[in-house]
Amino acid sequence: MRNRATATRVVLIVWIVAAVGGDVALAFGPIPPGQASDLASSESLTILLLAEAAWPVFSAVLAALFFTLVVNKIAPPTAEVSASALRGNTRVQTVWIVTTLVVVLSIAVYGTVALAIDVPGTGISTTSASLPMPTSTDQPLEVQVIAQQWWFTYRYPAYGGIETAQLVLPVNQKIQFHVTSLDVIHSFNFYALGVKADAVPLNDNVITATPTQVGTYRVQCTELCGLWHGNMADNTAMVVSASDFSAWIQEQTALDAPIMKYLPPYSHTYSGSNLPQPGVYAP
């Protein structure tokens, strides 16, 4: 009996130490996807909070399983379960169900609130007009991501609708990504910014993020899109200062000069017949 009480106490203490220690370690650990944008920060925070909430529960269930596995083995129970409690206990069941329900509901409420605050307006865009060039960093800069088998290209409607094969963004400027596809379903993933949006033909998927750290990043396709899906990634996406960004825009404008007359007018989705005409992206 004493043996078993000691073992119970040890398991309990180990659980408390593990739960608290784990939560503290999580608070100081690097949480993906990092802090490279406001969206990424909010995703990091959500992941951190979920992990903080999940870890004690997870380790508690694990400790209970461990208890039944090991403690029952080394210190077999002396007292038998009473006959009335052998097949169930309404109070315990109610407490368990209510507890899990409360935990789940609070997670759902938190998720909904976080969704409403941090990733508003993501999804299908309702406006057909593109945004003007932003006059302040709070006004979003519109950048279109065109997915096609198997390369992303980008259009900057605020800068004459130039098209590029490299994504460069100004730092601390709110960016509104408009993601669309010319053929099959792709998914645009700028991991460091916490941006992930499916590119669906004839659909405009909008997601907003403000990059906060200058650097070179990776963008990749995260929806299986055919032969070169695994290679539809680019390690040269950049977040640069505002002055570097204008210099880059000028450079790209010069490079695009020979084809500017062929590019179609900027639009949120591109359609056309299967036979391409000048200025129209075929479907």
């Binding site: 290209t153 010319l182 053929d183 055919g226 490079l255 020979p258 062929y262």
Partner: protein, 201 residues
């Protein structure tokens, strides 16, 4: 018991043969690779190597005789740090680009190509029959389709490959897989036709 063991052994042998077939014939059929021919010329101090490729509207043999294809193969091998000079005999008629952006010549030396001896920087997006594009190297060259009585357009360009070893995919961006959805199935998604690997080093 002995007969059961023999049946087991036979089963293992059959399974082994099937797995061997899968690995050798399907998983990675060792492709025929063509190696660039080296020259004595240099550009910017880097050695120049040559390739000659042909594009045809119908390959005429193999399991898909009606498919468009690059010839002789799309598995290319070049030395690291070289300037690759590619000559393409373009013998296919135009299909036009879905995204006109790819009618721009990019990533080649001076962002230029030579079509039948004429230096060009872009094409009308309705005219390309194919493109030669290596996305990871930023190289993209549209290949003008033949029109009128012409039987081929000779397109030449140079681009620099990195100094490190690497395997790069290359493909065509013209939806030229006739009869498939968006023209992007069939040959566009099959290695050896409109998709290939460029091995550096």
């Amino acid at each position: 018991m002995r007969s059961r063991i023999w049946i087991l052994v036979a089963g293992v042998v059959v399974a082994g043969v099937l797995v061997g077939f899968f690995v050798t014939r399907f998983l990675n059929p060792t492709p025929e690779q063509i190696t660039a021919t080296s020259t004595s010329a240099t550009i910017q101090g880097k050695p120049v190597v040559n390739f000659t490729l042909t594009t045809v509207g119908t390959i005429g043999y193999g399991p898909h005789p009606a498919w468009v294809s690059y010839l002789p193969t799309t598995y290319l091998k070049v030395p690291a740090g070289a300037v690759v000079h590619i000559t393409i005999d373009q013998q296919d008629s135009p299909s036009g680009l879905r995204n006109p952006y790819f009618s721009l010549v990019r990533g080649t030396v001076n962002n230029e190509m030579t079509v039948n001896g004429k230096v060009m920087q872009a094409l009308d997006p309705t005219t390309p029959a194919h493109t030669f594009t290596v996305p990871d190297l930023g190289v993209s060259v549209p290949l003008e389709g033949i029109s009128g009585s012409a039987t081929q357009n000779v397109v030449e360009f140079d681009f620099v490959v990195p100094d490190q070893k690497g395997l790069f995919r290359w493909q065509c961006f013209v939806p030229c897989g006739a009869g498939t959805l968006y023209g992007n199935g069939g040959p566009m998604q099959t290695l050896g036709y409109m998709a290939g690997e460029l091995q550096v080093g």
